[in-house]
């Protein structure tokens, strides 16, 4: 059975051209050298390729190439930025600010820092999934040394006003880290005009390979970090370890393509989302999660009330999507992001994230929408909650066993 992939927020396929470039940097006949080898052409050629990739990424985000540190992915970038900055500047203060809807790769380092004696404020989003500059302004104190917020939420597609928040943090001398794993290569960002100090990047979210990412570290004003890895002093001492040339080349090529295609990609996603929504919007009792004005069109998160998300995914077996349902997570907890929006647990259990991308076609979204409609209908037919709702029973008033 042909599968339709609508889980681009989870990961993206690598562009064919990117794969080709990567394979040129591995074998004996290729360019396999260690970019840190200064004594022969093998090293020089590899170094050249790494620097070209750095330039491509710098062009994509509008920064100086020297501000880019290669890492193994956004999780490492988040860890390096958050733990690195907090530990380096700990003598300036012990207060940190983040939000409740961050990725685990941000929340977990903060938990670790709490164990080390830091105090963390976790901002709560509004019901649309937005964190406002006013909340940040209210949360920071003269002890605050770091604010960390995501650019685009991975479950909802909501976008934080990082430019405005950057102005605020800069005026107060607070380091501002942004987890941009979901947004880079998809929506524009310009590091030369914003006041973000640290920015986490992941290649596999924009048609590059898995296992490689980057951290932007601002030079002016200079941001310092305590490294996580100690060793050969690669990447200006921020991240020791032999550079993964083929991975970095892949990221660089994906960045080059993303820079060229971003506007077209965005227009295409707007269109796909519009078509999909037109088809499903009349289904009774559905709720869009993260219904914000400032939102990425490639992610649409919908709760189908009275239908459990995992069973809907099973019914949609030819469609690859993800759910905030507890049943799809190892922890048996429903999505903490949806709960943070104040959604009832049952709506979190009933949520499906559809995420579209470069290879999604209009036919894909039309087919999916039809299948969603019929599957929701069929699952509701076997749902006791739907039956009660149809009978006019108020489900909130029932004492559940």
């Amino acid at each position: 059975m042909k599968q339709i992939y609508l889980d681009y927020a989870s990961t993206t396929p690598v562009e064919e051209g990117v794969v080709k470039k990567m394979t040129d940097f591995m074998s004996f006949d290729g360019n396999f050298g260690n970019p840190a080898s200064r004594s022969h052409s093998f090293g020089w050629k590899a170094d050249e390729a790494v620097e070209e990739a750095r330039n491509n990424l710098a062009t994509l985000i509008g920064c100086d190439p020297r501000e880019i540190i290669w890492t193994s992915g956004a999780t490492e970038s988040d860890n390096l930025a958050i733990k690195g900055a907090a530990r380096f500047y700990k003598n300036k203060g012990n207060h940190l600010v983040t939000s409740k809807i961050e990725h685990k790769a941000v929340l977990d380092p903060f938990r670790q820092l709490e164990d080390e004696g830091f105090e963390v404020t976790y901002l709560e989003p509004n019901s649309s999934g937005e964190i406002s500059i006013e909340q940040v302004a209210e949360a920071v104190t003269d002890k605050t040394i770091l604010v960390s917020l995501m650019h685009m939420n991975n479950e909802l597609g909501t976008i934080t006003d990082i430019d405005a928040i950057g102005e605020l943090t800069r005026s107060k001398g607070i380091i501002f880290h942004v987890d941009a794993a979901q947004s880079i290569g998809k929506i524009a960002i310009n590091m030369s005009s914003n006041k973000i100090d640290l920015l986490s990047i992941s290649a596999h979210k924009f048609y590059g390979p898995k296992g490689v990412g980057a951290l932007f570290v601002r030079r002016k004003p200079r941001v310092r970090l305590e490294p996580l890895f100690h060793g050969g002093g690669h990447e200006r001492g921020f991240r020791s370890g032999t550079l993964a040339t083929h991975q970095i080349v892949g990221l660089g090529e994906a960045a080059r393509i993303a820079h060229q295609q971003m506007d077209d990609d965005l227009r295409k996603l707007e269109n796909l989302k519009r078509i999909f929504w037109e088809e499903v919007k009349d289904i009774e009792e559905i709720y869009v999660n993260g219904d914000s004005k400032n939102k990425f069109p490639g992610i649409l998160n919908i709760s189908f009330n009275f239908v459990e998300g995992e069973s809907l995914i099973m019914a949609l077996k030819s469609i690859a999507v993800s759910s905030g349902s507890a049943c799809t997570s190892a922890s048996l907890e429903p999505s903490y992001v949806l709960r943070a929006l104040g959604r009832k647990d049952e709506l979190a259990h009933s949520s499906i994230r559809f995420s579209f991308g470069r290879y999604t076609t209009e036919k894909d979204v039309r087919e999916t929408a039809l299948l969603v409609k019929s599957s929701v209908e069929r699952l509701r037919e076997i749902s006791p909650l739907w039956e009660m709702y149809q009978d006019g029973v108020d489900l909130d008033k029932i004492e559940w066993a």
Binding site: A326, P334, E346, H349, E381, E387, A401
Partner: protein
């Protein structure tokens, strides 16, 4: 979700032909409703709710389950577990039905460890339905 083919089959059977899979309900006012016991277990906030109804008939002095219907809100294995339970109930006396253990459902469907609670829910559902049926008798 790494389900066994048995869970997948049972789930799809139920979804594709709900009537054959005994999805449905008896409502107050239906003929024989006085012979129906209902058990509702689980909670929407936990992600699964099972509603089981058994229709009983006194045959040779013993109450037997002559028919059963269900509706389930929950993950694929909760729906499959309900369907499996229904298959096991029909024709059983109340004592036999009371003795069904969740482990039987786990074994038949090869439920993964993280989904065992679905079978527990099914066991609770039949206990509730039997209790409900018995309380109806007492009210006669």
């Amino acid at each position: 979700m790494a389900y066994s083919q048995k869970v997948v089959d049972k789930f799809e059977e139920t979804l594709n032909n709900p009537e054959k899979a005994s999805v449905g309900r008896w409502k107050p006012g239906d003929e024989d409703y006085h012979r129906v016991g209902t058990g509702i277990v689980g909670a929407p906030a936990c992600g699964d709710v099972m509603k089981l109804q058994i229709k009983c008939q006194n045959i040779d002095g013993k109450n037997r389950i002559v028919d059963a219907r269900f509706k389930t809100y929950g993950c694929g294995s909760a729906i499959a577990s309900s369907g499996q339970l229904i298959d096991m109930l029909k024709g059983k006396t109340l004592e036999e039905a009371q003795a069904i253990s969740n482990q039987e459902i786990v074994d038949i469907l090869e439920l993964p460890a993280i989904k065992i609670h679905c079978s527990v829910l099914a066991e609770e559902a039949i206990h509730r339905a039997i209790d409900d049926f018995k309380s109806l008798r007492n009210n006669d």
